[in-house]
């Protein structure tokens, strides 16, 4: 099953449960509080996911390692390599 289908399946399951509770489609005569909670749930979920995404990406950007040492080491090795290659007869 492709990821797209997995997502469609998951989303339609959620939508089905949400519709059942919100409009009481099966005549389960659920208490009104259930409906009051379920009705705005998609919005809450969306907003929470948005916040989670922003926080995660923000944190990861802030903690992205800057490899200063690696860049310095490379610069030194480039000098070393150029000298050695010249000695070995490379014409750049």
């Amino acid at each position: 099953m492709t990821k797209l289908l997995q997502w469609l399946l998951g989303v339609s399951l959620l939508v089905a449960v949400w519709a059942l509770v919100t409009w009481d489609l099966l005549d389960l005569s659920l208490p009104d509080t259930y409906r009051d909670v379920a009705w705005p749930m998609p919005l809450y979920l969306l907003v929470s996911f948005g916040c989670y995404s922003l926080a995660t990406v923000g944190y990861r950007v802030a903690t992205f390692n800057d490899c200063e040492d690696a860049a310095l080491e490379l610069q030194q090795q480039i000098k070393e390599a150029k000298d050695d290659l010249k000695r070995k007869g490379l014409k750049m």
């Binding site: 492709t2 995404s53 950007v61 992205f64 490899c67 690696a70 390599a81 290659l85 014409k91």
Partner: protein, 250 residues
């Protein structure tokens, strides 16, 4: 000189590592990356060869490669040039055909991938007998150099979106510093059709689909020292398109 001083210890197992270096206008970088490869393979004592696949660079990359072959020997440096630029996937297919190693390294020739990590890739592969080992900028001591805030934000954002949509079991999808078992690379590259950034992503997503095991090694990515590295609107657009195609087909 370190490469020469180190005695070439011969490992007891028969593993050989073929490094594929696709190049296009890399005459400045190619001697340096080859020098570093010789240095680190020499120090670790693993058996290796470097296969340079030059796509008809007008800057004379091939001529420099020939000089390197004279310096380091025809058994270490192999030249498998092609007449014109034909894309990364076919470059790998072309290179693998000529590889005598049972393991294949793929990496960029522009010095953004440092050969010092090669022994860590090899050790990681042996630890879990992984089908492929992928370098990651996003975990452990991994990281980048030379990226501004915008570039970091795009990179992290794109990576997050991809993780959510594709759940690929790997943290760095667009990185191209990887070690493959030869038959695994052959099998994967045959199935992959994307270009550019998306190609590397497709390789690892297909690997998940085929239940290959993936190990990861943190790497530092030093953005190209010579030459230009671009990330414009076109790259982003083609990345999103490629992501959606993979989302719908894998």
């Amino acid at each position: 000189m370190a490469s020469r001083k180190t005695s070439h210890r011969i490992r007891e197992n028969g593993d050989k590592y073929s490094v594929l270096l696709p190049t296009y206008n890399e005459r400045e970088n190619l001697p340096l990356i080859v020098w570093l490869l010789v240095k680190y393979f020499g120090e670790s004592g693993h058996n290796y060869e470097v296969i340079i696949i030059d796509d008809g660079s007008p800057d004379g990359t091939l001529e420099v490669a020939e000089q390197l072959q004279r310096i380091y020997g025809q058994d270490r440096i192999l030249l498998r040039p092609r007449a014109k630029k034909l894309g990364l996937g076919t470059a790998y297919i072309h290179g693998v055909k000529h590889a005598t190693g049972n393991f294949i390294f793929i990496m960029d020739a522009d010095l953004s991938h440092h050969p010092k990590f090669i022994p860590e890739f090899i050790q990681k592969q042996k630890e879990g007998n992984y089908d492929l080992v992928s370098g990651t900028r996003y975990r452990g001591n991994g990281g980048v150099y030379g990226w501004d805030l915008r570039r970091k934000l795009i990179s992290r954002g794109a990576n997050f979106l991809t993780q959510v949509l594709l759940r690929p079991n790997a943290s760095d999808l667009t990185g191209s510093f990887r070690l493959y078992k030869k038959e695994v690379l052959e099998n994967l590259v045959e199935r992959c059709v994307s270009k550019g950034y998306v190609f590397q992503m497709e390789m690892i997503v297909r690997a998940r689909q085929l239940n290959y095991s993936v190990g990861e090694v943190p790497i530092s990515f030093v953005d190209r020292v010579y030459g230009e590295s671009k990330l414009g609107g076109n790259e982003i657009l083609s990345f999103v398109k490629g992501l959606l195609v993979l989302f719908a087909t894998t």
